[in-house]
């Protein structure tokens, strides 16, 4: 998985948990909270959906890694790539 593919998966999750938001111009280097209406419960949703959809665990100490799309990609891409192959 590339970092861009990882960002796309994160945006897919955000589209579901923040359905009123326009995600067409999310700046990858800006904190998500600074450009979208997201609160702490929404970030818990992102964590939950990563767990449910992709089997990825984000421990509480690492929540700050989900601040922006860029930091999400930095943190999550290796986790995605470490997942056992499906099938």
């Amino acid at each position: 998985m590339t970092k861009d593919e990882c960002k796309k998966l994160v945006l897919d999750i955000i589209a579901d948990i923040a359905p009123d938001e326009d995600l067409s111009n999310v700046k990858p280097d800006v904190r998500l909270r600074d450009q979208l209406q997201l609160d702490s419960m929404d970030f818990l949703d992102i964590v939950m959906e990563l767990r449910k959809r992709h089997g990825i665990e984000v421990p509480e100490k690492d929540y700050l890694q989900l601040a922006s799309l860029d930091s999400c990609a930095e943190y999550l891409t290796p986790k995605f790539n470490a997942l056992p192959a499906k099938g």
Partner: protein, 415 residues
């Protein structure tokens, strides 16, 4: 020294969603035209079941995220509250938000959300780390009222009143008390239900042999019919704006009616079986509080849910009060159209009758093909609307499990 008379309380707005109407005019029109609102829906683990479903647009007053995070009962509360406020014509934005109370009756709350989470974790081998962090705010008992206060930005008291299927009436009664005490200056009150989204309610009534069946959904809810065989479960909501009369007059509000009397009591006899004696005591106490004789009541809206025994017992209670000397008392039932909307039932059923003050027409009880002789009350309005000479009073009965009884009387407003 005589105590000062209690402030008069009036209804100045109505917001509702029922299985056969999203506004009071639409609801009323369907009640006069005999249009029921029952359909078949898929219930988890149980297959197709009869239910009353509301078809309002949640996005009229909520963002998509609010709908996703919140509950169905919360959404119904928000819709009804916003509709009631709009109908009242009050200058809401300018009102002191800490003087507005929200009092919402509920039969139950939290079953839907808990069942959903258990179903959700069943897909993950019952691992509770998949349990939603929204579970607690969704299932707290005050959720429907709390979601309404969040949406409206009101900061006065906002809570629910758990009173089984008497809860809709209790919302109005409690609001009346709070307005009279001066606790708030304006109230949004009534009842809501999301019960069709929990299989447990269906399964519970089925295990009690109290769940209606019929080939034709529109005929399924049939109180007083000899072949009635149980309850049709529905969702719905109805909230009113209540004000002290002086405040309503000062702003030139339209007045639907005035709270004329009420009473709440308990059977103290059984978990589920009604007690006709306590029911009639409740009705008599409400009449007494309002200074009415039974013959003064022009419409009695029954609670009857179409269970074989429950209908007979309510008829016994009504016969004891209105059986003789009440030639101008007309009796009807609204569940025959919309099923049993649980916590919303009392509030919705009152709303369906309020227009009678203006059109002098009593909506009938429909679906009575063969009247049960034990339910043959004098004054029962069957299958066709009845034009009457006078409607100055409406008495609304709502009863619930664990033996809670409520009677609310609304009278024509006379300055």
């Amino acid at each position: 020294m005589k105590p000062a008379p209690l402030p008069r309380i009036v209804i100045t707005g109505v917001g509702l969603t029922s299985p056969n109407g999203r506004t009071l005019p639409e609801f009323r029109q369907n009640l006069l035209n005999g249009v029921a609102g029952i359909e078949r829906i898929e219930i988890r683990y149980m297959g197709q079941q009869l239910a009353g479903v509301c078809h309002y647009d949640p996005l009229k007053y909520q963002k998509k995220k609010e709908v996703r995070v919140g509950t169905r009962a919360g959404s119904i509360s928000i819709y009804c509250a916003r509709e009631a406020l709009a109908d009242s014509g009050v200058a809401f934005e300018a009102m002191p938000k800490d003087r507005i109370g929200i009092y919402i009756g509920c039969t139950e709350h939290g079953n839907v959300e808990t069942e959903n989470e258990i179903y959700n974790i069943s897909k993950f081998n019952y691992d509770t780390k998949y349990w939603s962090h929204y579970h607690n705010p969704r299932t707290v008992a005050n959720n429907p009222a709390g979601e309404a206060s969040l949406n409206l930005g009101t900061t006065g008291p906002a809570y629910t009143i758990g009173a089984a299927c008497a809860a809709g009436n209790l919302g109005l009664i409690h609001a009346t008390q709070m307005l009279r005490l001066g606790e708030v200056d304006f109230a949004l009150c009534g009842g809501v239900s999301e019960s069709i989204h929990t299989f447990g309610i269906f399964a519970g009534f089925k295990s009690q042999n109290a769940l209606a069946t019929h080939d034709d959904p529109a005929k399924a809810s049939r109180p007083f019919d000899l072949a009635r065989n149980g309850i049709v479960i529905s969702e719905g909501g109805c909230l009113y704006t209540l004000e002290r009369l002086d405040d309503a007059l000062a702003r030139g509000a339209k007045i639907y009616g005035e709270i004329g009397g009420y009473h709440v009591n308990s059977d103290a006899t059984d978990y589920v079986l009604p007690n006709p004696q306590r029911q009639s005591e409740c009705v008599r106490a409400a009449l007494r509080r309002g200074g009415f004789e039974p013959r003064d009541i022009h419409i009695v809206n029954t609670h009857a849910t179409a269970t074989p025994l429950g209908d007979i017992q309510e008829c016994e209670a009504i016969r004891a009060v209105f059986g003789e000397g009440c030639p101008d008392t007309h009796i009807n039932n609204t569940k025959s159209y919309i099923g049993h909307a649980m916590g919303a039932a009392g509030a919705l059923e009152l709303a369906g009758n309020l227009p009678s003050f203006d059109d002098l027409t009593v909506h009938p009880t429909i679906n009575v093909d063969q009247l049960d002789p034990q339910c043959a009350l004098p004054g029962l309005v069957l299958n066709q609307p009845r034009k009457v000479a006078k409607v100055d009073t409406i008495l609304n009965n709502s009863f619930g499990m664990l033996g809670i009884n409520s009677t609310l009387i609304v009278k024509r407003f006379v300055p």
